[in-house]
């Protein structure tokens, strides 16, 4: 592996949970998560060289992961070779208390539309309004307004 590949591998390993979380919240089953995860890695790799550090690395990763999940064609399963992820848990089937909690979160977030889902996820992860606005493409003021509305929406459901 050359230096660029090593750096990419390190970045992916350090942010694997973030990438997986985004893919999980936009998916309905294990296979879909796996497809989106691999698609996101490919897009990150394509853009890795040209990433200029004008925004934070975590913001960039969020942007690429969410864009991939929003624009992915769910009907078209990944072409080419598909590599299984190295995991010994299944967030859709496991029945332990922690997984049930996680699934409850997944179910609630899934009820929201795509952009609202992205907004609420970034907020839950503790990102600032500036960063959320940059990723979503709306004003900072609008982020606040939308989060209040989402809160209301979640309470009603």
């Amino acid at each position: 592996m050359d230096i660029k590949e090593q750096e990419f591998s390190r970045m992916v390993r350090e942010n694997k949970s973030t990438i997986y979380t985004v893919c999980y919240m936009f998916s309905n089953d294990e296979d879909e998560v796996s497809d989106l995860f691999q698609e996101t890695l490919i897009n990150l790799w394509k853009g890795f060289e040209s990433f200029r550090h004008e925004s934070k690395l975590s913001t960039w990763i969020y942007r690429v992961a969410m864009n991939t999940c929003i624009s992915a064609d769910r009907k078209k399963r990944r072409q080419g070779s598909k590599v299984p992820l190295s995991m010994n848990i299944n967030l859709y089937d496991d029945e332990d208390h922690e997984t049930k909690q996680v699934r409850q979160l997944h179910e609630r977030i899934q009820r929201l539309d795509l952009i609202d889902r992205a907004l609420v996820m970034m907020w839950l992860e503790g990102m600032s309004y500036d960063e959320i606005a940059e990723v979503v493409g709306i004003s900072i003021k609008n982020v606040g307004v939308k989060l209040v509305r989402i809160k209301e929406k979640l309470k009603q459901k």
């Binding site: 694997k16 490919i42 990433f51 539309d113």
Partner: protein
């Protein structure tokens, strides 16, 4: 359910995922390999389409079986399909998932699917039906082998085309429904 509880749940999820390997060496190698080949593959398809358009005309012309008008019309139709597909795909190909914001990406995707929808429902039938009628005439009447009933050739052609259209329609319908959902969401965002 409040946001604080959801925050705890997302922390729980991250902790769970941190304990997993998830990304293995094989996956990384495959990612870096596919990332490069995907770009080349797209270019290759463009070249294949162009070469096909350039090769079909002389081949059909040399065979001398079909009328010149039909051969020219077939080539023109293929070129038109190629240009139309390229035009519809261009914004998506140019879109940079690494730098665009979510609303822009969603809007481009929705526009792409809407145009694709219009192409499928209006342009494709208006090209395909006259061409198919002409093709049936050329194959089953004008160039039918001696003594063979015209409908023996025409019927399988028409049935095949009908089945193809039905499969295409059902495959496309689900994509269109998904696109409508995204369009509704964006319009809702813009109106708010």
């Amino acid at each position: 359910m409040n946001f604080e509880e959801m925050r705890n749940q997302i922390t729980l999820l991250k902790e769970k995922l941190d304990r997993q390997e998830i990304v293995n060496d094989h996956l990384l190698r495959e990612t870096m390999r596919t990332g490069v080949s995907a770009i080349n593959k797209n270019k290759l398809w463009v070249y294949v389409c162009v070469v096909l358009c350039l090769v079909i005309y002389p081949l059909l012309y040399v065979s001398g079986t079909f009328s010149n008008a039909f051969v020219i019309a077939t080539c023109l139709m293929m070129l038109l399909c190629f240009v139309g597909t390229y035009y519809i795909h261009r914004p998506v190909d140019r879109m940079n998932l690494m730098t665009e914001d979510l609303v822009t990406v969603a809007r481009v995707m929705a526009k792409f699917r809407r145009q694709y929808d219009q192409w499928m429902y209006y342009v494709t039938p208006s090209l395909l039906i006259p061409w198919l009628s002409w093709a049936v005439y050329e194959f089953a009447w004008k160039n039918a082998p001696d003594g063979m009933n015209h409908w023996q050739i025409a019927l399988p052609m028409l049935v095949g085309a009908g089945i193809g259209m039905l499969i295409g329609y059902f495959m496309h319908r689900n994509t269109v429904n998904a696109a409508r959902k995204i369009i509704d969401q964006i319009e809702e965002k813009e109106n708010n």
